[in-house]
Symmetry: C2
Subunit: 301 residues, 2 copies
Protein backbone atom coordinates (compact mmCIF):
# COMPACT_ATOMS: atom_id res chain seq x y z
CA UNK A 1 0.00 0.00 0.00
CA UNK A 2 1.03 3.60 -0.52
CA UNK A 3 3.40 5.14 2.04
CA UNK A 4 3.73 8.87 2.53
CA UNK A 5 6.35 10.63 4.64
CA UNK A 6 6.48 14.29 5.56
CA UNK A 7 9.49 15.66 7.37
CA UNK A 8 12.66 17.64 7.10
CA UNK A 9 15.27 17.58 4.37
CA UNK A 10 18.51 18.94 5.69
CA UNK A 11 22.07 19.90 4.97
CA UNK A 12 23.92 18.48 7.97
CA UNK A 13 27.29 19.05 9.60
CA UNK A 14 28.02 16.14 11.91
CA UNK A 15 30.95 15.52 14.26
CA UNK A 16 31.46 12.23 16.07
CA UNK A 17 34.50 10.67 17.77
CA UNK A 18 35.03 8.86 14.45
CA UNK A 19 35.17 11.86 12.15
CA UNK A 20 33.44 14.81 10.58
CA UNK A 21 30.90 14.98 7.78
CA UNK A 22 30.29 18.45 6.34
CA UNK A 23 27.42 19.66 4.18
CA UNK A 24 26.03 16.16 3.84
CA UNK A 25 22.46 15.22 3.06
CA UNK A 26 20.24 14.57 6.07
CA UNK A 27 16.80 15.24 7.50
CA UNK A 28 14.13 12.98 8.90
CA UNK A 29 12.20 12.50 5.64
CA UNK A 30 15.38 11.60 3.75
CA UNK A 31 16.54 8.93 6.21
CA UNK A 32 13.00 7.63 6.46
CA UNK A 33 12.56 7.38 2.68
CA UNK A 34 15.88 5.65 2.14
CA UNK A 35 15.10 3.06 4.84
CA UNK A 36 11.50 2.54 3.75
CA UNK A 37 12.50 2.09 0.11
CA UNK A 38 13.93 -1.36 0.90
CA UNK A 39 10.37 -2.51 1.55
CA UNK A 40 7.84 -0.35 -0.29
CA UNK A 41 7.43 2.56 -2.69
CA UNK A 42 7.64 5.88 -0.83
CA UNK A 43 6.04 9.27 -1.48
CA UNK A 44 8.36 11.97 -0.20
CA UNK A 45 6.70 15.22 0.83
CA UNK A 46 9.02 18.06 1.81
CA UNK A 47 10.63 21.33 0.91
CA UNK A 48 14.14 22.60 0.19
CA UNK A 49 15.60 25.90 -0.91
CA UNK A 50 17.16 26.58 -4.28
CA UNK A 51 20.58 26.49 -2.57
CA UNK A 52 20.31 22.72 -2.02
CA UNK A 53 23.24 21.06 -3.80
CA UNK A 54 21.79 17.55 -3.97
CA UNK A 55 20.20 15.90 -6.99
CA UNK A 56 17.43 13.84 -5.40
CA UNK A 57 16.88 11.84 -8.55
CA UNK A 58 20.45 10.67 -8.12
CA UNK A 59 20.21 10.25 -4.33
CA UNK A 60 17.30 7.83 -4.72
CA UNK A 61 18.37 6.33 -8.06
CA UNK A 62 17.15 2.74 -8.40
CA UNK A 63 14.72 3.16 -5.49
CA UNK A 64 11.00 3.67 -5.77
CA UNK A 65 10.86 7.09 -4.10
CA UNK A 66 8.30 9.47 -5.62
CA UNK A 67 9.55 13.07 -5.69
CA UNK A 68 6.58 15.03 -7.07
CA UNK A 69 5.92 16.20 -3.50
CA UNK A 70 9.42 17.65 -3.15
CA UNK A 71 9.20 21.43 -3.56
CA UNK A 72 12.34 23.38 -4.45
CA UNK A 73 11.51 26.92 -3.41
CA UNK A 74 13.30 29.60 -5.42
CA UNK A 75 15.22 32.11 -3.30
CA UNK A 76 14.75 30.16 -0.07
CA UNK A 77 17.45 28.41 1.92
CA UNK A 78 17.45 24.74 2.89
CA UNK A 79 17.14 23.66 6.54
CA UNK A 80 20.56 23.22 8.15
CA UNK A 81 21.54 21.26 11.23
CA UNK A 82 24.94 20.86 12.86
CA UNK A 83 25.55 18.54 15.77
CA UNK A 84 28.25 16.79 17.76
CA UNK A 85 28.05 13.31 19.31
CA UNK A 86 30.10 12.67 22.43
CA UNK A 87 31.73 9.70 24.12
CA UNK A 88 29.65 6.58 23.60
CA UNK A 89 27.41 8.66 21.29
CA UNK A 90 24.34 8.31 23.49
CA UNK A 91 24.53 12.09 23.90
CA UNK A 92 24.62 14.82 21.33
CA UNK A 93 24.65 18.59 21.30
CA UNK A 94 23.09 20.73 18.58
CA UNK A 95 25.72 23.21 17.42
CA UNK A 96 23.57 25.07 14.89
CA UNK A 97 19.95 24.97 13.76
CA UNK A 98 18.81 27.10 10.82
CA UNK A 99 15.15 26.37 10.08
CA UNK A 100 15.19 28.51 6.91
CA UNK A 101 12.55 27.22 4.48
CA UNK A 102 10.92 25.15 7.26
CA UNK A 103 9.78 28.42 8.85
CA UNK A 104 8.03 29.54 5.67
CA UNK A 105 4.65 28.52 4.26
CA UNK A 106 4.57 24.68 4.11
CA UNK A 107 4.54 22.99 0.70
CA UNK A 108 1.15 22.01 -0.69
CA UNK A 109 0.42 18.34 -1.02
CA UNK A 110 0.15 16.94 -4.57
CA UNK A 111 -3.33 15.53 -5.25
CA UNK A 112 -1.73 12.24 -6.18
CA UNK A 113 -0.50 11.85 -2.57
CA UNK A 114 -3.90 12.33 -0.95
CA UNK A 115 -4.97 8.71 -1.20
CA UNK A 116 -1.91 7.53 0.77
CA UNK A 117 -2.74 4.79 3.26
CA UNK A 118 0.36 4.61 5.47
CA UNK A 119 1.52 8.00 6.73
CA UNK A 120 4.55 9.01 8.73
CA UNK A 121 4.63 12.49 10.19
CA UNK A 122 8.26 12.98 11.08
CA UNK A 123 9.17 15.25 13.93
CA UNK A 124 8.05 18.87 13.48
CA UNK A 125 5.56 21.32 15.07
CA UNK A 126 2.51 19.27 16.14
CA UNK A 127 0.18 21.88 14.58
CA UNK A 128 1.93 21.37 11.26
CA UNK A 129 1.75 17.58 11.62
CA UNK A 130 -2.01 17.88 12.17
CA UNK A 131 -2.40 20.16 9.16
CA UNK A 132 -0.47 17.70 6.98
CA UNK A 133 -2.48 14.74 8.25
CA UNK A 134 -5.75 16.52 7.48
CA UNK A 135 -4.76 16.76 3.82
CA UNK A 136 -4.76 12.98 3.48
CA UNK A 137 -8.17 11.50 2.58
CA UNK A 138 -8.45 8.35 4.65
CA UNK A 139 -5.24 6.92 6.02
CA UNK A 140 -5.14 3.30 7.20
CA UNK A 141 -2.29 3.82 9.65
CA UNK A 142 -0.85 7.20 10.60
CA UNK A 143 2.26 7.37 12.76
CA UNK A 144 4.18 10.32 14.12
CA UNK A 145 7.37 11.18 15.95
CA UNK A 146 7.77 14.09 18.34
CA UNK A 147 10.41 15.64 20.59
CA UNK A 148 11.01 17.35 23.92
CA UNK A 149 10.53 20.94 22.73
CA UNK A 150 7.00 20.21 21.45
CA UNK A 151 6.08 18.30 24.61
CA UNK A 152 7.30 21.27 26.58
CA UNK A 153 5.91 24.14 24.53
CA UNK A 154 3.09 22.79 22.35
CA UNK A 155 1.39 20.19 24.49
CA UNK A 156 -2.18 21.17 23.48
CA UNK A 157 -1.45 20.72 19.77
CA UNK A 158 0.38 17.50 20.53
CA UNK A 159 -2.57 16.17 22.52
CA UNK A 160 -4.84 16.94 19.56
CA UNK A 161 -2.44 15.14 17.25
CA UNK A 162 -2.32 12.08 19.55
CA UNK A 163 -6.09 11.72 19.25
CA UNK A 164 -5.77 11.58 15.46
CA UNK A 165 -2.88 9.16 14.92
CA UNK A 166 -2.67 5.38 15.23
CA UNK A 167 0.91 5.18 16.42
CA UNK A 168 3.46 7.34 18.22
CA UNK A 169 7.14 6.46 17.75
CA UNK A 170 9.07 8.20 20.50
CA UNK A 171 12.37 8.17 22.42
CA UNK A 172 12.42 6.84 25.98
CA UNK A 173 13.23 10.15 27.65
CA UNK A 174 10.50 11.86 25.65
CA UNK A 175 7.97 9.15 26.52
CA UNK A 176 8.76 9.71 30.21
CA UNK A 177 8.42 13.46 29.76
CA UNK A 178 5.14 13.24 27.84
CA UNK A 179 3.61 10.85 30.37
CA UNK A 180 5.08 12.51 33.46
CA UNK A 181 6.05 9.02 34.59
CA UNK A 182 9.50 7.53 35.19
CA UNK A 183 8.65 3.87 34.67
CA UNK A 184 8.84 3.29 30.94
CA UNK A 185 6.09 0.66 30.75
CA UNK A 186 3.72 2.84 32.76
CA UNK A 187 4.73 5.82 30.60
CA UNK A 188 3.89 3.90 27.41
CA UNK A 189 0.52 2.94 28.88
CA UNK A 190 -0.22 6.57 29.71
CA UNK A 191 0.66 7.62 26.15
CA UNK A 192 -1.76 4.98 24.85
CA UNK A 193 -4.43 6.56 27.04
CA UNK A 194 -3.81 9.85 25.17
CA UNK A 195 -5.08 8.42 21.89
CA UNK A 196 -2.84 6.24 19.72
CA UNK A 197 -3.49 2.49 19.75
CA UNK A 198 0.22 1.75 19.31
CA UNK A 199 3.30 3.22 20.99
CA UNK A 200 6.85 2.34 20.04
CA UNK A 201 9.45 3.53 22.54
CA UNK A 202 12.96 3.75 21.08
CA UNK A 203 15.79 3.31 23.58
CA UNK A 204 18.79 3.71 21.27
CA UNK A 205 21.41 1.04 21.91
CA UNK A 206 19.04 -0.48 24.49
CA UNK A 207 16.44 -1.50 21.93
CA UNK A 208 12.75 -0.74 21.83
CA UNK A 209 9.36 -1.55 23.32
CA UNK A 210 6.12 -1.94 21.40
CA UNK A 211 2.82 -1.56 23.29
CA UNK A 212 -0.72 -1.56 21.97
CA UNK A 213 -4.04 -0.83 23.63
CA UNK A 214 -5.15 -4.46 23.35
CA UNK A 215 -2.40 -5.34 25.85
CA UNK A 216 0.08 -6.60 23.27
CA UNK A 217 3.70 -6.00 24.24
CA UNK A 218 6.98 -6.77 22.52
CA UNK A 219 10.45 -5.98 23.83
CA UNK A 220 13.50 -6.17 21.61
CA UNK A 221 17.15 -5.37 22.26
CA UNK A 222 19.11 -3.39 19.68
CA UNK A 223 21.21 -5.40 17.23
CA UNK A 224 24.64 -5.56 18.91
CA UNK A 225 26.88 -3.59 16.53
CA UNK A 226 30.59 -2.99 16.87
CA UNK A 227 30.74 -0.32 14.19
CA UNK A 228 28.97 2.94 15.03
CA UNK A 229 30.28 6.03 13.28
CA UNK A 230 27.27 8.37 13.15
CA UNK A 231 23.92 7.85 14.94
CA UNK A 232 22.23 10.68 12.98
CA UNK A 233 19.03 9.43 11.41
CA UNK A 234 18.90 6.18 13.37
CA UNK A 235 15.41 6.90 14.70
CA UNK A 236 14.09 7.95 11.29
CA UNK A 237 15.66 4.90 9.66
CA UNK A 238 13.96 2.75 12.30
CA UNK A 239 10.61 4.40 11.55
CA UNK A 240 11.23 4.15 7.80
CA UNK A 241 11.89 0.42 7.82
CA UNK A 242 9.03 -0.18 10.24
CA UNK A 243 6.49 1.76 8.18
CA UNK A 244 7.94 0.47 4.91
CA UNK A 245 7.36 -3.10 6.06
CA UNK A 246 3.79 -2.33 7.21
CA UNK A 247 2.98 -0.64 3.89
CA UNK A 248 4.45 -3.62 2.06
CA UNK A 249 2.30 -6.18 3.87
CA UNK A 250 -0.64 -3.76 3.99
CA UNK A 251 -1.37 -4.72 7.57
CA UNK A 252 -0.98 -3.29 11.04
CA UNK A 253 -2.04 -6.17 13.29
CA UNK A 254 0.17 -7.00 16.27
CA UNK A 255 2.22 -9.71 14.53
CA UNK A 256 2.94 -7.35 11.62
CA UNK A 257 3.86 -4.57 14.04
CA UNK A 258 6.33 -6.90 15.81
CA UNK A 259 8.00 -7.87 12.55
CA UNK A 260 8.06 -4.20 11.54
CA UNK A 261 9.85 -3.26 14.78
CA UNK A 262 12.45 -5.95 14.12
CA UNK A 263 13.07 -4.57 10.62
CA UNK A 264 13.29 -1.07 12.09
CA UNK A 265 15.91 -2.30 14.55
CA UNK A 266 17.92 -4.04 11.85
CA UNK A 267 17.91 -1.16 9.37
CA UNK A 268 18.82 1.36 12.10
CA UNK A 269 21.81 -0.84 12.96
CA UNK A 270 23.08 -0.40 9.41
CA UNK A 271 22.29 3.34 9.30
CA UNK A 272 24.65 4.16 12.17
CA UNK A 273 27.63 2.28 10.69
CA UNK A 274 28.69 5.23 8.51
CA UNK A 275 28.18 8.99 8.07
CA UNK A 276 25.08 10.52 6.46
CA UNK A 277 23.18 8.04 4.28
CA UNK A 278 26.18 5.87 3.46
CA UNK A 279 25.29 3.26 6.08
CA UNK A 280 21.95 2.74 4.32
CA UNK A 281 23.04 3.07 0.71
CA UNK A 282 25.85 0.53 1.20
CA UNK A 283 23.47 -2.37 1.91
CA UNK A 284 21.44 -4.78 -0.17
CA UNK A 285 18.06 -6.19 0.81
CA UNK A 286 19.66 -9.60 1.42
CA UNK A 287 21.85 -8.18 4.18
CA UNK A 288 18.76 -6.89 5.94
CA UNK A 289 17.21 -10.37 5.82
CA UNK A 290 20.45 -11.95 7.09
CA UNK A 291 20.65 -9.57 10.03
CA UNK A 292 16.94 -10.12 10.77
CA UNK A 293 17.66 -13.84 11.15
CA UNK A 294 20.85 -13.12 13.12
CA UNK A 295 18.87 -10.97 15.56
CA UNK A 296 16.35 -13.77 15.99
CA UNK A 297 19.20 -16.16 16.80
CA UNK A 298 20.83 -13.69 19.20
CA UNK A 299 17.63 -13.18 21.18
CA UNK A 300 15.88 -16.53 21.20
CA UNK A 301 16.05 -18.96 24.08
Amino acid sequence: MSLLVTGSIAIDNVKTPYGVSENCLGGSAVYFSMAASFFSPVRLFGIIGSDCPFDFGEVFAGRDVELTGLEIREGSKTFRWAGTYHGDMNERTTDKLELNVLEEEPPSMPDAYKDSKFIFLANTLPALQLQLLEQVDKPTFAAADTMDCWIDGHIDDLQRLLKRIDCLIINDDEARMLAGENNLICAAQKVLNMGPRVVVVKKGESGSILCETGGGRFVLPAYPVTEVKDPTGAGDSFAGAMMGYLAKVGSCDFESLKTAVVYGTVVASFAIADFSLRGLTAIEKGEIENRFEALRKLTSF
Copy 2:
Protein backbone atom coordinates in the same frame (compact mmCIF):
# COMPACT_ATOMS: atom_id res chain seq x y z
CA MET B 1 26.50 -29.28 42.08
CA SER B 2 27.69 -27.29 45.08
CA LEU B 3 27.46 -23.50 44.89
CA LEU B 4 29.54 -21.21 47.08
CA VAL B 5 29.12 -17.47 47.42
CA THR B 6 31.41 -15.05 49.19
CA GLY B 7 30.39 -11.44 49.58
CA SER B 8 29.06 -8.83 51.92
CA ILE B 9 26.32 -9.10 54.50
CA ALA B 10 24.99 -5.68 55.31
CA ILE B 11 22.63 -3.61 57.38
CA ASP B 12 21.16 -1.23 54.81
CA ASN B 13 19.35 2.08 54.93
CA VAL B 14 17.68 2.65 51.57
CA LYS B 15 15.69 5.63 50.28
CA THR B 16 13.84 5.55 46.97
CA PRO B 17 11.02 7.71 45.57
CA TYR B 18 8.69 4.97 46.88
CA GLY B 19 9.74 4.96 50.49
CA VAL B 20 12.40 4.33 53.08
CA SER B 21 13.72 1.08 54.50
CA GLU B 22 15.84 1.42 57.63
CA ASN B 23 18.18 -1.11 59.20
CA CYS B 24 17.11 -3.79 56.77
CA LEU B 25 19.10 -6.85 55.77
CA GLY B 26 21.18 -6.50 52.63
CA GLY B 27 24.58 -7.24 51.15
CA SER B 28 25.65 -8.99 47.98
CA ALA B 29 25.99 -12.48 49.48
CA VAL B 30 22.54 -12.28 51.07
CA TYR B 31 20.70 -11.23 47.88
CA PHE B 32 22.72 -13.79 45.92
CA SER B 33 21.94 -16.64 48.34
CA MET B 34 18.23 -15.86 48.45
CA ALA B 35 18.00 -15.77 44.63
CA ALA B 36 20.18 -18.86 44.12
CA SER B 37 18.21 -20.87 46.67
CA PHE B 38 15.28 -21.15 44.24
CA PHE B 39 17.51 -23.36 42.08
CA SER B 40 20.21 -25.03 44.12
CA PRO B 41 21.62 -25.45 47.63
CA VAL B 42 23.92 -22.54 48.53
CA ARG B 43 26.94 -22.31 50.78
CA LEU B 44 27.11 -18.81 52.25
CA PHE B 45 30.57 -17.58 53.22
CA GLY B 46 30.74 -14.24 54.96
CA ILE B 47 31.17 -12.32 58.16
CA ILE B 48 29.08 -10.12 60.43
CA GLY B 49 29.61 -8.42 63.77
CA SER B 50 27.95 -9.41 67.01
CA ASP B 51 25.74 -6.32 66.62
CA CYS B 52 23.86 -7.91 63.72
CA PRO B 53 20.17 -8.13 64.68
CA PHE B 54 19.16 -10.77 62.13
CA ASP B 55 18.63 -14.45 62.75
CA PHE B 56 19.95 -16.01 59.55
CA GLY B 57 18.36 -19.35 60.33
CA GLU B 58 15.06 -17.53 60.20
CA VAL B 59 15.97 -15.38 57.19
CA PHE B 60 16.65 -18.49 55.13
CA ALA B 61 14.09 -20.76 56.77
CA GLY B 62 12.82 -23.40 54.36
CA ARG B 63 15.68 -22.73 51.94
CA ASP B 64 18.76 -24.85 51.48
CA VAL B 65 21.31 -22.21 52.50
CA GLU B 66 24.27 -23.58 54.44
CA LEU B 67 25.43 -21.19 57.17
CA THR B 68 28.50 -22.94 58.63
CA GLY B 69 30.62 -20.41 56.71
CA LEU B 70 28.89 -17.44 58.35
CA GLU B 71 31.19 -16.03 61.03
CA ILE B 72 29.72 -13.86 63.75
CA ARG B 73 32.70 -11.97 65.12
CA GLU B 74 32.40 -10.98 68.74
CA GLY B 75 32.95 -7.26 69.39
CA SER B 76 33.00 -6.36 65.71
CA LYS B 77 30.43 -4.30 63.87
CA THR B 78 28.50 -5.40 60.80
CA PHE B 79 29.03 -3.70 57.43
CA ARG B 80 26.59 -0.85 56.91
CA TRP B 81 25.47 0.84 53.71
CA ALA B 82 23.06 3.69 53.18
CA GLY B 83 21.98 4.86 49.76
CA THR B 84 19.40 6.93 47.91
CA TYR B 85 17.90 6.20 44.49
CA HIS B 86 16.75 9.16 42.41
CA GLY B 87 14.18 9.80 39.70
CA ASP B 88 13.83 6.75 37.46
CA MET B 89 16.18 4.90 39.86
CA ASN B 90 18.89 4.38 37.28
CA GLU B 91 21.07 6.55 39.50
CA ARG B 92 21.96 6.22 43.13
CA THR B 93 24.14 7.99 45.64
CA THR B 94 25.88 6.31 48.55
CA ASP B 95 25.04 8.26 51.68
CA LYS B 96 27.11 6.24 54.11
CA LEU B 97 29.52 3.33 53.92
CA GLU B 98 30.89 1.71 57.08
CA LEU B 99 33.08 -1.26 56.17
CA ASN B 100 33.48 -2.29 59.82
CA VAL B 101 34.11 -6.06 59.98
CA LEU B 102 34.88 -6.18 56.24
CA GLU B 103 38.09 -4.26 56.95
CA GLU B 104 39.26 -6.84 59.46
CA GLU B 105 40.87 -10.23 58.91
CA PRO B 106 38.63 -12.19 56.48
CA PRO B 107 36.77 -15.25 57.79
CA SER B 108 38.42 -18.62 57.24
CA MET B 109 36.73 -21.01 54.90
CA PRO B 110 35.20 -24.17 56.42
CA ASP B 111 36.85 -27.32 55.06
CA ALA B 112 33.42 -28.54 53.99
CA TYR B 113 33.21 -25.64 51.51
CA LYS B 114 36.50 -26.34 49.77
CA ASP B 115 35.12 -28.88 47.31
CA SER B 116 32.59 -26.32 45.95
CA LYS B 117 32.27 -26.48 42.17
CA PHE B 118 30.37 -23.31 41.33
CA ILE B 119 31.78 -20.19 42.96
CA PHE B 120 30.60 -16.62 42.99
CA LEU B 121 32.96 -13.96 44.25
CA ALA B 122 30.71 -10.99 44.89
CA ASN B 123 32.09 -7.52 44.62
CA THR B 124 34.98 -6.78 47.00
CA LEU B 125 38.73 -6.01 46.81
CA PRO B 126 40.14 -8.08 43.91
CA ALA B 127 43.05 -9.23 46.10
CA LEU B 128 40.55 -10.63 48.58
CA GLN B 129 38.54 -12.29 45.80
CA LEU B 130 41.74 -13.99 44.62
CA GLN B 131 42.61 -15.13 48.14
CA LEU B 132 39.12 -16.60 48.58
CA LEU B 133 39.23 -18.35 45.22
CA GLU B 134 42.59 -19.92 46.07
CA GLN B 135 41.03 -21.65 49.07
CA VAL B 136 38.71 -23.68 46.84
CA ASP B 137 40.21 -26.95 45.60
CA LYS B 138 39.11 -27.25 42.00
CA PRO B 139 36.15 -25.13 40.94
CA THR B 140 34.25 -26.01 37.77
CA PHE B 141 33.01 -22.49 37.13
CA ALA B 142 34.15 -19.43 39.05
CA ALA B 143 32.43 -16.09 38.44
CA ALA B 144 33.06 -12.67 39.93
CA ASP B 145 31.61 -9.20 40.02
CA THR B 146 33.64 -6.00 40.35
CA MET B 147 33.11 -2.25 40.46
CA ASP B 148 34.52 1.10 39.35
CA CYS B 149 36.70 1.74 42.41
CA TRP B 150 38.63 -1.53 41.94
CA ILE B 151 39.04 -0.91 38.20
CA ASP B 152 40.36 2.52 39.07
CA GLY B 153 42.57 1.73 42.04
CA HIS B 154 43.36 -2.02 41.95
CA ILE B 155 43.68 -2.84 38.28
CA ASP B 156 46.74 -5.13 38.71
CA ASP B 157 44.97 -7.36 41.23
CA LEU B 158 41.86 -7.29 39.08
CA GLN B 159 43.85 -8.36 36.02
CA ARG B 160 45.25 -11.27 38.02
CA LEU B 161 41.77 -12.24 39.11
CA LEU B 162 40.47 -12.10 35.52
CA LYS B 163 43.06 -14.68 34.51
CA ARG B 164 41.76 -17.05 37.19
CA ILE B 165 37.99 -16.84 36.76
CA ASP B 166 35.68 -18.32 34.12
CA CYS B 167 33.13 -15.53 34.08
CA LEU B 168 32.91 -11.83 34.88
CA ILE B 169 29.45 -10.39 35.62
CA ILE B 170 29.72 -6.63 35.32
CA ASN B 171 27.68 -3.44 34.77
CA ASP B 172 27.78 -1.72 31.39
CA ASP B 173 29.58 1.42 32.58
CA GLU B 174 32.13 -0.68 34.41
CA ALA B 175 32.69 -2.89 31.35
CA ARG B 176 33.38 0.27 29.31
CA MET B 177 35.73 1.55 31.99
CA LEU B 178 37.61 -1.73 32.36
CA ALA B 179 38.05 -2.12 28.59
CA GLY B 180 38.70 1.55 27.87
CA GLU B 181 36.19 1.21 25.05
CA ASN B 182 32.83 2.92 24.55
CA ASN B 183 31.19 0.34 22.31
CA LEU B 184 29.74 -2.26 24.64
CA ILE B 185 30.23 -5.25 22.33
CA CYS B 186 33.87 -4.31 21.70
CA ALA B 187 34.28 -3.71 25.44
CA ALA B 188 32.95 -7.20 26.23
CA GLN B 189 35.35 -8.67 23.68
CA LYS B 190 38.27 -6.83 25.27
CA VAL B 191 37.28 -8.14 28.71
CA LEU B 192 37.23 -11.68 27.27
CA ASN B 193 40.79 -11.07 26.06
CA MET B 194 41.78 -10.37 29.68
CA GLY B 195 41.05 -13.93 30.74
CA PRO B 196 37.49 -15.09 31.44
CA ARG B 197 35.78 -17.21 28.82
CA VAL B 198 32.39 -15.67 29.60
CA VAL B 199 31.35 -12.07 30.19
CA VAL B 200 27.84 -11.01 31.23
CA VAL B 201 27.22 -7.28 30.91
CA LYS B 202 24.28 -6.05 33.00
CA LYS B 203 22.52 -2.97 31.70
CA GLY B 204 19.84 -2.52 34.39
CA GLU B 205 16.44 -1.81 32.86
CA SER B 206 18.02 -2.25 29.42
CA GLY B 207 18.75 -5.95 29.89
CA SER B 208 21.99 -7.84 29.49
CA ILE B 209 24.49 -9.23 27.03
CA LEU B 210 26.25 -12.59 27.29
CA CYS B 211 29.48 -13.12 25.32
CA GLU B 212 31.85 -16.06 25.31
CA THR B 213 35.24 -16.57 23.74
CA GLY B 214 33.91 -19.12 21.26
CA GLY B 215 31.93 -16.28 19.65
CA GLY B 216 28.61 -17.14 21.30
CA ARG B 217 26.45 -14.09 21.98
CA PHE B 218 23.05 -13.63 23.55
CA VAL B 219 21.19 -10.36 24.04
CA LEU B 220 18.18 -10.10 26.30
CA PRO B 221 16.01 -7.15 27.33
CA ALA B 222 14.99 -6.74 30.96
CA TYR B 223 11.59 -8.06 31.92
CA PRO B 224 9.30 -5.03 31.55
CA VAL B 225 8.13 -4.32 35.09
CA THR B 226 5.75 -1.62 36.22
CA GLU B 227 6.50 -2.04 39.91
CA VAL B 228 9.98 -0.99 40.98
CA LYS B 229 10.35 0.09 44.58
CA ASP B 230 13.99 -0.65 45.41
CA PRO B 231 16.72 -1.69 42.94
CA THR B 232 19.16 -2.63 45.73
CA GLY B 233 20.49 -6.14 45.18
CA ALA B 234 19.15 -6.46 41.62
CA GLY B 235 22.61 -7.31 40.23
CA ASP B 236 23.34 -9.81 42.99
CA SER B 237 19.91 -11.41 42.57
CA PHE B 238 20.64 -11.68 38.84
CA ALA B 239 23.97 -13.38 39.58
CA GLY B 240 22.38 -15.59 42.22
CA ALA B 241 19.68 -16.96 39.95
CA MET B 242 22.15 -17.33 37.09
CA MET B 243 24.71 -19.26 39.18
CA GLY B 244 21.98 -21.18 41.01
CA TYR B 245 20.63 -22.45 37.70
CA LEU B 246 24.11 -23.42 36.46
CA ALA B 247 24.85 -25.27 39.69
CA LYS B 248 21.50 -27.04 39.45
CA VAL B 249 22.13 -28.33 35.92
CA GLY B 250 25.83 -28.80 36.62
CA SER B 251 26.75 -27.38 33.28
CA CYS B 252 28.19 -24.19 31.85
CA ASP B 253 27.88 -24.70 28.10
CA PHE B 254 26.49 -21.85 26.04
CA GLU B 255 22.87 -23.05 26.04
CA SER B 256 22.94 -23.42 29.84
CA LEU B 257 24.52 -19.98 30.17
CA LYS B 258 21.72 -18.47 28.04
CA THR B 259 19.01 -20.07 30.15
CA ALA B 260 20.87 -18.97 33.29
CA VAL B 261 20.89 -15.35 32.08
CA VAL B 262 17.14 -15.52 31.48
CA TYR B 263 16.57 -16.80 35.01
CA GLY B 264 18.86 -14.04 36.30
CA THR B 265 16.76 -11.47 34.46
CA VAL B 266 13.50 -12.88 35.76
CA VAL B 267 14.56 -13.15 39.41
CA ALA B 268 16.06 -9.63 39.35
CA SER B 269 12.71 -8.33 38.09
CA PHE B 270 11.05 -9.72 41.24
CA ALA B 271 13.82 -8.49 43.54
CA ILE B 272 13.26 -4.83 42.67
CA ALA B 273 9.50 -4.92 43.28
CA ASP B 274 9.88 -4.35 47.02
CA PHE B 275 12.34 -3.16 49.66
CA SER B 276 15.19 -5.30 51.00
CA LEU B 277 14.64 -9.03 50.42
CA ARG B 278 10.84 -8.84 50.38
CA GLY B 279 10.66 -8.87 46.55
CA LEU B 280 12.46 -12.24 46.62
CA THR B 281 10.88 -13.82 49.66
CA ALA B 282 7.37 -13.06 48.39
CA ILE B 283 7.66 -15.35 45.37
CA GLU B 284 7.24 -19.05 44.70
CA LYS B 285 9.26 -21.07 42.19
CA GLY B 286 6.19 -21.34 39.97
CA GLU B 287 6.05 -17.57 39.54
CA ILE B 288 9.65 -17.62 38.30
CA GLU B 289 8.74 -20.25 35.72
CA ASN B 290 5.67 -18.27 34.64
CA ARG B 291 7.67 -15.10 34.15
CA PHE B 292 10.39 -17.06 32.30
CA GLU B 293 7.75 -18.14 29.77
CA ALA B 294 6.24 -14.65 29.69
CA LEU B 295 9.65 -13.19 28.84
CA ARG B 296 10.05 -15.72 26.04
CA LYS B 297 6.69 -14.65 24.64
CA LEU B 298 7.50 -10.94 25.00
CA THR B 299 10.76 -11.28 23.10
CA SER B 300 10.16 -13.89 20.43
CA PHE B 301 9.32 -13.05 16.85
